[in-house]
Amino acid sequence: EAGVTQFPSHSVIEKGQTVTLRCDPISGHDNLYWYRRVMGKEIKFLLHFVKESKQDESGMPNNRFLAERTGGTYSTLKVQPAELEDSGVYFCASRGTTFETQYFGPGTRLLVL
């Protein structure tokens, strides 16, 4: 069974540009989460999808971040326009409905210059 995959693995962009991160969850997992780790700080929750619906987006830092989950399958996280403080590692995780464990992808390392 394939795990959670994320694309790209790395992205280097300039301040003001737009970046779109993609996450493909484990097949059949209705729950999809986005987290990020800014340099030197803890991993923080961004938002949670159940199928295509946003269940909890309390961790989204501001309206420059837009997450979507088309058809309840893969998800994208767009940052527009990117700021320096958006640099960090963005993780995606998925979870089956009746299971407690979240399975994480390898992350996307974003560097905003």
Partner: protein, 113 residues
């Protein structure tokens, strides 16, 4: 104050030695999970312990949970160089077994060959 604080922040040991990491949390929990992140890679789920469990084993890993002290420990026995990684504890929201995870800052473990 944050849920899930690991101690120590960094640990350096020789191969073959045991490594113990501690995690404290603030609110009551239904479960506590430990994750590992190798350099440049994603988070790997290690073990989940529920609030009604006191100890759990998985291979060379031993996790304990003391709900009266709101703390957990992760013991890695007979450590190997490949165990070098950051280790995080994470908890779901109070009163639930699912949902967004709150992570601590992690313990950086270095195992010298």
């Amino acid at each position: 104050s944050q849920q899930g604080e690991e101690d120590p922040q960094a640990l350096s040991i020789q191969e073959g030695e045991n490594a113990t990491m501690n995690c404290s949390y603030k609110t009551s929990i239904n479960n506590l999970q430990w994750y590992r992140q190798n350099s440049g890679r994603g988070l790997v789920h290690l073990i989940l312990i529920r609030s009604n469990e006191r100890e759990k084993h998985s291979g060379r890993l031993r996790v304990t949970l003391d709900t009266s002290k709101k703390s957990s420990s992760l013991l890695i026995t007979a450590s190997r160089a490949a165990d070098t990684a950051s280790y995080f504890c994470a908890t779901p929201p109070k009163g639930t077994s699912y949902g967004k995870l709150t992570f601590g800052q992690g313990t950086i473990l270095t195992v010298h060959p």
